[in-house]
Structures are given as structure tokens and as C-alpha cells.
Amino acid sequence: MRPDLSSAPPAVAAPILAATGLARAVPLAGGGRRTLFAGVDLAVRPGEVVAIVGESGVGKSTLLNVVAGLDAADAGQVLIGGQDIAALAEPARAALRASALGFVFQAFHVLPHLTLARNVALPCLLAGMNAADALARAEAMLAQVGLDGRGADWPAVLSGGELQRVAIARALVNRPGLVLADEPTGNLDPETAARILDLLLSEARERRAAVLIVTHSDMVAGAADRVLRLSASGLVPA
């Protein structure tokens, strides 16, 4: 029986992301290894906004990469929508990212030589959609993030806030179950940051997409449903 996600309370729904016992160490220049984190358990349910905070260098971004299948954990398991991401072959993992995950970065990463619409449409293409449908969907998505009718513009004319709107549109255009955001407001002034965060969370909620945010910002953490702190000993509620 298909669960009715819209009516069921978050606590009852199956988690979109379920990570258990994750551990990761990095090699040191002088030999030996430094543990970034270990014993990390994390479950994020559809529609939930979870913020991860922690000191610099503790491995927040690495954790995010492990969750996205871009980096391998030394131990533990990551299930995205019930799929063990480590068990997938590389092309399948890439396909899973294209269809089930959205990404928002601190540095926006909007390709400068593609129009805004094409930037936003990229995940659709990567998920196998044809170009015309992808562009139509991208235009609609740009309208949702307040860039109505600007699909043909080039990134060079946009401000930082506008670029991040494009990034948010790109992250959500494929209706992913989970958006991974790494310091999404780190390059923005506080006022813009607040507006962008609001946009990201409201658009995600509207699509019942869960959001996992790595941040230093109290403002961002404050907007989350749950805030977790990462340290070498694990992930604990802040």
C-alpha cells in the first residue's frame, strides 16, 4: 500500500535518508589517520529540514558527500529512499543523484556559459528527459524562485542572491526527495541570506522534499526542524 505522505505525520513516514554507523578518517601528512567522525546515525524523513552544525574541519561537508555517494565512508551504510547507495555501481549512483537528490552550494556553481534555463534544466537532462520538456520545466521552476522570464539571461549579469535562486531552482527542478545544502547562504549578505533560506525551505516544503543543511549560521540552524551537531564522537542533537 502506497503511504499517503501528505496526510501522514513526519514521524510515521519512512525516512528518505537513513544513515547508520558512518565513520570517516583522513590520512595525515606525517602518516597515520585522523578520525573525522564515527558512529554517525542519521534519519531524515520526507519534508523534514535538518541542520548539521559543528566546528570547521570536523567533516560536515565530507558527511554530506558521503550521503550523496560522492565520497565513500570507511564504515556504515547510507540508504536513500531505501537504496543502499554504496551497493550501487557508479553509473546507477550518478543516476540516483540526478533523480532523487538536489544540491545547493555555498559558491552557487552556476555554469557561466549556459543560460539560466539551461543551468536549471541540466538535472532533468541528466535524468534522461528530452531538452524541450526540461527547458519548459526549468522556466516554470525559475518563475517559482522569482526569476520569471529570465531563462534566456546569462549568469554573468546576476547578483549572488539571484545566482543562488538559480541554484535552488536547479536543486528542486527534478522534484528530488532530498536536497543537500552546503552553507547555502555563506556567500550572501544577511538580508539576502534570510530571503534565500526562506525560499529554499518554502519551495522544498511545498514539494515535501527533505532538506539536509550543513551550516555555521545560527539563523539557518534556527530555521530547521532539527539541529544536529557533528563531532568526532558522532552526531548528537544540538
Partner: protein
Amino acid sequence: MHHSANGMAVTGWLMAGEWRAHPVRLGLAVLAIAVGVALGFAVHLVNSAALASFGRAVASVQGRADVAVRARSAAGLDEALYPRLAQLPEVQAISPVVEVPASWGRLARPGSEAKGGRFTLIGVDPLRAMAVTPGLVGISVAGQGGVGSRPNWQADAVWLSPALMRAAGVAPGQDFIITAAGRQARLRIAGRLAGADEAQLAVIDIAEAQWRFGQLGRLHRIDLKLVDGDAAWAVVAAALPADAMLATPEAEATRADALSRAYRVNLGMLALVALLTGGFLVWSAQALAVARRRPQFALLGVLGLPRAGLVRQLLAEGLVLGVAGAALGVALGYGLAVLVVDRFGGDLGGGYFSGARARLAFDTGAALLFGALGLVTALAGSLGPALNAARAAPAQALKGLGDVPDPARRPRAWPGLVMLGLGALAALGPPLWGLPLLGYAAMALLLAGGVALMPALARLLLAPLARKGSAFLPLDLAVRRLWGVPQAAGLALSGIVASTALMVAMAVMVASFRQSVDDWLVAVLPSDLYLHLEGAEAGGLPPADQARLAAVPGLAHVRFQRVLPVRIDPARPAVALMAQGGQASVPIMASTDAATPPGTARALISEPLAWLYGWQVGEVHSLVIGGVPRRLFVAGVWRDYARQWGAIIVPLADYRGFTGDATATEASFDLAPGADPAAVQTALQAALPQAVEGQAQFGRPGEMRRVALTIFDRSFAVTYALEAIAIIIGLIGVATSFSAQVLARLREFGMLRHVGVGRRAILTMLGLEGAGLGLIGALAGLSLGLVMALVLVRVVNPQSFHWTMDLALPGPLLGGLVAALVLCAGGTAVVAGRRALGGRALLAVRADW
């Protein structure tokens, strides 16, 4: 669930983006491929056109007989052989032929205004030739066949090939004066030879040819049609006297092919080198582009583009570049070939296919082949960077600066060293199929090895500077950058090193050759005045005329010489038998003081002859002179650049004793002290019989040397052009790689400016970096080029042309080349930097790429 990405659209969008951002870079990559393809294709077209017309010309003169019995020398065969062969049951049809070199008009040295030309005069019995070589039977003016209207063949009728009619500007019905074998005859043009378009050829009746041109009783060729089977061939061969040999069309074709083969292969190799240089450029451009676009690819990886998809993406880009470059290259190549054939003729001024007019035809197969080569080059150039990009972890790449090599990692030197070692080994190898293929392999390996060694070498060279540091900040920064990122330097260097090395190799080879030819000319031209009878192989000045010449006042000493072609091997072009009076004046390379064994004549052989036939000093070999095999004692080897197929010098007295032929085709005159060369020449000219006036060419050493070197330079003009193209491609490579690197490093410059380094200092740094790269590249290319030149001079040239030369280094040229490269590289870097720093440096800190 699994989606396959819509890779086509992704590729299209990204390429469109690249094209928008870097049209020049993409354009240059396309151009690099195009230049390589164009050169290869053009050289191929010109070659095949020239060879085809040459082949047609040869076939026309042969008249396409199955088998021909040929005289080993210009002296010909006794005509009694004709009925003997005709009566063999194995002979189905037979056609005796008189064949003498002939000329019309006044033969002149290059540059003079006189109009004249050489051709082959053929005497056939048309009744016999109809059955064997119908192409040699003329069609009369009235359009009647030759047999029925046979009386047309008598007396003064001559049939000319269309090519000869064009060259001499004559038409049927007109008179045509022919000089051959020291005699002259006025004949009437009866018509054109339909079957002999390309050859410079005239046909008269065999009886007339024998009578009018002093060949009574002699034949030079007997064309045969044999019954099937090898046995027939053997029977005919067994019936031949010593001065005749059997030549098949295959042997004739081999001979025609041999005439120009080495030349063609060399040009073909040069074209491939151009293509290879283009490949280097594509590779370095792609590698730099991939490095620059690494964050872009990383983003695509994060967003869900699988690695295989990324490789496909980059290969697709390479494919598009390759297809565009190949198409452009084929078009350019065809245009170039048309231009070259139009301007220089089929031999590119090489003088190998004289008389044959090249007809250029678009060769679809070759176009596809060279296009495909260009495509493969582009794909190969893209594959390495593509695999490299796919290996990168997308998350790190996304966060990084793009180009983040680790200065702690040492570049690997062994692959380059291994290739250099293999190259050295290959250079020691023997020729394969008579061609210096291993020599070329050695060149390619040396080149590849040298380029592969560049990062390690750059680091090694810069290590002392980097350790010491510099008080001058821009220099310090430049050195550290070059030292720290030798892979990037290696990329920029590959093109420059490759093109410099090739250019140096070529320049040194040509300079060595030229110097050796010059020295040789001085050695072989010791007299004050020379007389040469052009086209007089069949017979020259009789003794009475020689005596008249020798009696001209003002002469201290006269030496006469009889030169005639002699065949040793039917599949090889004839060698020149030079019967010289007096002491031979040639540059001896090796000789023996041993006494001439009894029953032998003392002979000096040329270096190519020694190579081709394996004759050595001190040996006794047999050579048919005057119809009988004579034993020759090889007393020495002399250097000869004039006769690629070999020459043998024998004493004139011996030759006359062997043959009874007392004529002379050349003479050298030493003047009495105080004699006026011009007056003596005029007197000599007056003393010549009128019949040979058109053939006689007087020359003085200085002017002959000048003409020879002019011809030399002209024939190497193509080489110079190819060199220039290689160096331009190299410089374009430097420019593109610098622009790309400067763009990739905008953040670095932004940071430097933020910390207070002035714009001027950054430009200075870039200039120094560029100049440093140029210097390293030029020096490395110079060293590599010298090694390759050694391979060219010591391996490739002797193996293809069978002569050696002394190594000569064109110092000023090489010095200028290095200086020009350093300046160009530095200037390019500054220009690229200036453009990149125009207001964008500050923004660069914020933007990732």
C-alpha cells in the same frame, strides 16, 4: 530506477557554451587538425598526381609491351638478336625498337631564355608494333591507321606525343628538327601519337631512326608478347646475350617507383609530422581546457553525470573538433595541392618527374583516410584529458581551484627516458623494404620521449633557481610557479618542443646537405670551363671534332669524357658509366692503393652505387660494356650527389678499347695562364659541329655552382614551408596554452593583487614565465632537434638517397630560432595576461572559474 542521461543535449549545450566562451581556442584546435590534414592530403594528392603522370609517361614510352628485352647500355644491341628471338616458339609477337635520347630547339640551363627540350626518340616498325605496342603507332593527319597507310611511315615522317607537341609548340604538317646522337634531322610532323599523352616522345620508322641517327645495325629494345607461362620467360632470358636483359612491366614500374620513392616517402613523412604536431596542439589544448573546466565537470558529476558519460562528453567534443578540422583540412589540402601543382609542377620543384605533366584528381579514398587520421588525432588528443577528468573526485574538484597540482609530487621521468632509449635503438636499425622506416620510427620515438620528459626536465632545470629564490618578486613567483607546476608547463611546452625539435632537425639536415653539396661542387669542378652535350647518350662528338676543340687557342689542358647510362639491374634505374680521360677529379671517400689485377680495368664507383649494389673497394665486379662483360676493379668510392642511382668512372682509354666508341659527351678545359675565358668559350663554340649546337652547354664552375645551389634551394622550398608551418603551429600552441592558463589562474592573480602585487608586476611575472617556458622549450627542442638531425643525416638520408653528408650546424639560424621562441613565448604570455587582467581580476576571487 535507472535513467540514461540525455547526453546528446548535454554535449550540445556545453559545446555551445564553450564556443561562446572560447571561440578562438576551439577555432585553433580545429585549425591545428585542419593544417595537419591539409598538408598530408595535399602532399598525397600532389605525389599521386605526379607519380601517375610519371607512370603514364613511362608506360607511353614502353608502349605497354608484356615484356621487353632491353640493352644494358645506351650502346644498344646487335639487331641480329631480333630474328633470333622472333623465331622462338615462345614469342607470339615481337617489335624491335630503336630508342635514343633526343632534343629539340636549344637546350639551356635553368634561367636562360633559350627554348628547347629533351624527349625520347623512338624508331619502330609499325607493322610489328601494331601487335605488341599499338600505342607507339601513329595516326596520320588524315586519320588513317598506320598499317594500311604504311607508306606514310617512310622518309621524314615523325609522330609526336601530345605532350611534346605542346612543349615544342608545333602542329601536324610542320617541320620539326631533331638532334640526337650528335646528328640533326629535319622531319615533317605527320600526326600525333594518340596513346602517349604524358610522355615527351617522338616516333619515326625504325629504318629512318637507324640511318639518320647513327644507329645502323643497333636496337635498344625489343618488345615481346610471349605465350603464357613462366617457362617462356626463362627460354627468352636464356637466349639473351650479355648486353641484353629482360624487363617486365613490373620491373619497369618498380624502376619508375624507385626513381621517386624515397622522395615521396620523405614528403609523406613530413606531412605526417605536421599532422602529429597538430595532434600535439589538440592534446595540449584539450588538456588545458579540461583542467580549466574541471569544476564544471565536477558539478556535472555531482548533479548525476556518470564517469563514462563524462568521457563520452569529452570525446564527443573531440569528435566535433576532429570532424570540423578534418573537413576543413581536406578542403584546404585540395586547394593547396591545386596551387602547388599549378605553381611548381608535380615534383614540387624536386626535378624527379621532368617532362611529365601532373593531372590532379580529387581522391575520395585518400580524403577519407586523411580526414580519418585527423579525426583519430583529435580523439586521441581528447582521450587522455577525458580519462584524467573522469578520474577526479567530483566533490574535491568542485571545491578546488581547478588546477591544483601538488608541488610535492615529482613528475615521472621514466616513460620519456624509455621512449628516448627505444628511439636510439631504432636509429641503429637497418632499412626496411629499402626505406628508412626504423629511422622515422626513431624520430617519432625521440620526439615523443622528449616531450614526455619535459615536466621532469623543467623541474630539474628550475630546481637551482627555485631553491635560491629571487629578490625580484615577479621572477621569484614565475620560477616557483614553473617549478611547482611542471605538468602545466609540460603541456604548454609539448607543442613548442615538438615543433622546435622538428624545425631544428630539418634545418640542420638541410644545412648539412647544402654544405656538403657545396663542398662537393667545388671538388668536382676543378677546371675553368666545361662543355656538356645534353641528350647525347646515344653518341657524342667524334674524334675529329674533339681534336678541333682541343686545338682552340688559349687552352692548357683538355679532358674528354663519355657518359652513358648502363643498366645493372632491370628493376633499378640505369647507372651512369663515365669514361674519363686523365686523372679523375672527384672527392674520394675511400680508396685502395692495391695494384689493378690483370685483366681488369680500374674503376671508381660513386657512393650511391656502393650502397645500392653492395660493391666494395678492392672487389672485382663484372659490367657489360660494349656487349661483353668486363671485369672492373673497384679502386675507390667517391662522393656523388648528382646521380642518385649510381655512377662508375672508368678510364676513357679502357672504354674506347672495350667499345670502339671514341665519341665524347663532355669536356673540361683548363685555360692557359692569361687566356680570356669568354673568348675561349666563343672559340670553342665556333669549333663545334653545327648538329650539336643545340645540345652544347658551356659552363663555368662559379656559375654552375650557383645554379646548382639555386636548384637545391628551390627543391627544399617545400621543406622550408613545412618547417615554417610546424613552428607556427608550435607558437599557436604556446599562445593558446598561455591564454588558457592565465584564465585558469585569474583567482591567483586576483589574490596577488589583493595582497598588493601590482598589475605591472603580475604582467612581468607572466612575461618571465612565458620567456622561461620559451627558453626551456627552445633549449629542449634544440637538443632534441640536434639528436633528430643526427638521425636524419646519419640514418634517414643514407638509407633513402644512399649518400652521406657531413653534419653542419647553421649557428645563426638556430640562435635566432631560440631567441625568437623566447620572445614570442614571453610576448604571448604578456598579451594573454593583459587581456585577462583587464578588470576581471578582482571579480576572479569571487567566481570559481
